[in-house]
């Protein structure tokens, strides 16, 4: 087993453990954006797709590079865009349109309850 391979395996295992630790803390409320964010992160395969270009000098190589670049770019750009779009919708308070009542009504009880339930 080469040193490079051992290094790669070490990185893989450690990253897996970090992932389990970090993702275990994400609340269920955000599981859809989390999955979408994870989705955009695996769009890093675009780097792999682009690197094909270094050695691709045949028709088959070009076709594979084209399809891989197309797939990976769709993944990465779409993934980040849709995650951002979703996260923008998560608001602490109901936003302008049908909302003015929320802040006026129940001055004491409701806001206090809200503060409490915000995770630190």
């Amino acid at each position: 087993m080469s040193t490079a391979l051992v290094t790669d395996l070490t990185i893989f295992v450690l990253a897996l453990l970090v992932g389990i630790e970090v993702i275990g803390k994400v609340p269920a409320t955000l599981h859809t954006p989390l999955m979408s964010a994870a989705n955009s992160i695996h769009g890093i395969v675009l780097a792999g797709a682009l690197l094909i270009g270094i050695t691709a000098h045949t028709v088959v190589g070009y076709i594979l590079a084209f399809v891989a670049a197309f797939f990976a770019a769709a993944n990465v750009v779409g993934g980040y865009a849709v995650t951002g779009r979703m996260l923008k919708m998560f608001r602490r308070k109901a936003a302008p349109p049908p909302a003015p009542a929320v802040t006026e009504a129940a001055p004491g009880a409701v806001p206090a309850e809200r503060q409490e339930s915000v995770r630190s």
Binding site: A4, D8, I11, F12, G19, I20, V22, I23, P27, A28, T29, L30, H31, T32, P33, L34, M35, S36, A38, N39, S40, I41, G43, I44, V45, A47, G48, L50, L51, G53, I54, H57, G61, Y62, F66, A68, A69, F70, F71, A72, A73, A74, N75, V77, G78, G79, Y80, A81, V82, G84, R91, R92, A94, P97, P98, A101, V102, A105, E113, R114
Partner: protein, 470 residues
């Protein structure tokens, strides 16, 4: 590896660190957006570094640049367009499509790597080839599996389990063929073996997802997400790139955790889900409700009185709510109640939507503030204090039968709706949920059934509350 490419690995490590920090920031809705930005920045760094590597290598041909740039631009446009236009109810399909293209791209990286090595003089097959083979296998399975999952979610393919005669035998044969040719690939440079592995894996992906029912999609998407991550990590081993290895491992961990959470929320093992056939109605069921039960039916006015004079209301939304497009109506009703000083919160079961956390996104889109969205463990102790539990479009996750042994849903964690002082269930008919059993909640003396379409019912209740409190 030249010293230049070695140094570039450091840039990739920086990108990987951004991914970890980005995911870490997702531990709260307040910081999640910043997390996504950090992650995006990491991705930009990695892609720029890759372009620098390409230019530095000096071996990318004019045709090579053209196909890469056009391919990437077209892909980016397609991704952006679908991200901008997708309905939030269709989010699971989109995530599934991104799983498909991600897994597909990872497989292509390995396929290219193998073809390139194989065509080199003497057929160099180094230590990475076991990863090459794994990447091709997992990537191809993910590609077709995710396409089928997306098709099922979109309704292009029937959501009910498709059982093919002898499907398990065919699957077994495909696994044998795929693994056999994969082993052959390791020892001998052979393009036909590669082709066999790809075809068998693609077919296996289709047959793996087809028999799985629509209600199990949260688990399937999570699992395919984990597969994609693993495939990308394998691609990282193939091209010895740390960013791919770390990113793939992170996604693999994320998908794995979500798969387990979803399976636990349904109290079913992964093996049981993958074998499929759930919800086909052939399970023997011991039901208590049946005919002798007293079902109380109410109209909008009575429901409105209960709601308007409550001090604490818990809304229990299920996918039926989203299917009826009633989320905005519910948010309006909740805002109206809050205006009267009533404490409103939402009890969200982990499998309330079509993917992990889906219901939260649907309600957030309807302008529901996220502090009102409560997870199952958080809200369950609050039910006894609730004057009204308003169940809309949720069924099996509220069935007290889950607490007894011997039913189809025994042991499944449920929302303790029956503990509330009174219960209003909005439902179109007495039909059963995915588990195919009667809901004992409906026979509870505290329960009133409001038979109507969710959207219509919510609008009627809102109007009735308005007239009532004028």
């Amino acid at each position: 590896m030249s010293s230049f490419t070695t140094n570039m690995q450091l840039v990739y490590v920086l990108a990987a660190a951004c991914f970890v920090i980005g995911l870490h920031l997702m531990n709260s809705p307040a910081t999640a957006r910043r997390g996504n930005q950090v992650s995006t920045a990491g991705m930009a760094i990695a892609i720029i570094a890759t372009l620098v590597l390409l230019i530095h290598s000096g071996t990318v041909t004019a045709v090579g640049w053209t196909v890469l740039i056009i391919g990437a631009l077209l892909g980016a446009a397609a991704g952006l367009w679908s991200a901008r236009t997708v309905q939030m109810t269709a989010m699971p399909q989109l995530v599934s499509m991104f799983n498909a293209v991600g897994g597909g791209a990872a497989a292509l990286v390995a396929i290219y790597g193998y073809i390139h090595d194989e065509s080199a003089p003497g057929g160099v097959l180094g230590s990475t080839s076991v990863f090459t083979v794994l990447d091709v296998l997992i990537g191809s399975v993910t590609f077709t599996g995710s396409l089928i999952a997306a098709g099922k979610l979109q309704g292009l393919i029937t959501g009910s389990p498709v059982m093919i005669k002898g499907g398990r035998v065919i699957n077994l044969a495909l696994i044998v063929v795929a693994l056999g040719s994969a082993a052959f690939m390791l020892t001998t440079a052979s393009l036909p073996a590669l082709l066999l592995v790809v075809l068998a894996s693609l077919a296996f992906g289709v047959l793996m997802v087809l028999p799985i029912g629509g209600a199990d999609m949260p688990v399937v998407i999570s699992l395919l997400n984990a597969f994609t991550g693993t495939a990308v990590a394998m691609a990282g081993f193939v091209i010895q790139n740390w960013a791919l290895i770390v990113a793939g491992a992170l996604v693999g961990a994320s998908g794995g955790i979500l798969t387990k959470l979803m399976a636990d929320a349904m109290n079913r093992s992964l093996a049981n889900i993958m074998l499929g056939g759930f919800g086909t109605g052939d399970t023997a069921v011991a039901s208590v409700v049946a005919g002798d039960a007293q079902i109380r039916s109410i109209a909008a006015d009575d429901a409105a009185i209960q709601l308007a004079y409550a001090s604490k209301v818990i809304i229990v939304p299920g996918y039926g709510l989203a299917a009826a497009q009633a989320q905005h109506g519910v948010a309006e009703l909740a805002a109206l109640l809050e205006e009267r000083g009533i404490e409103v919160s939402y009890a969200i079961h982990p499998v309330a939507g079509r993917m992990p956390g889906h219901m939260n996104v649907l309600l957030a889109e309807a302008n529901v503030p996220y502090p009102q969205l409560k997870e199952m463990d958080e809200i369950n102790p609050e039910f006894p204090r609730a004057d009204v539990a308003l169940v809309i479009g949720a069924n099996d996750v509220t069935n007290p039968a889950a607490r007894r042994p011997g039913t189809a849903i025994s042991g499944m964690p449920i929302l303790d709706v029956d503990q509330a002082q009174s219960i209003i269930v909005v439902k179109r008919s007495m039909g059963t949920g995915y588990a195919g059993i009667d809901n004992e909640l409906y026979a509870n003396p505290k329960t009133s059934m409001y038979f109507a379409d969710a959207k219509k019912a919510v609008a009627e209740m809102t109007a009735a509350v308005k007239t009532l409190v004028g």
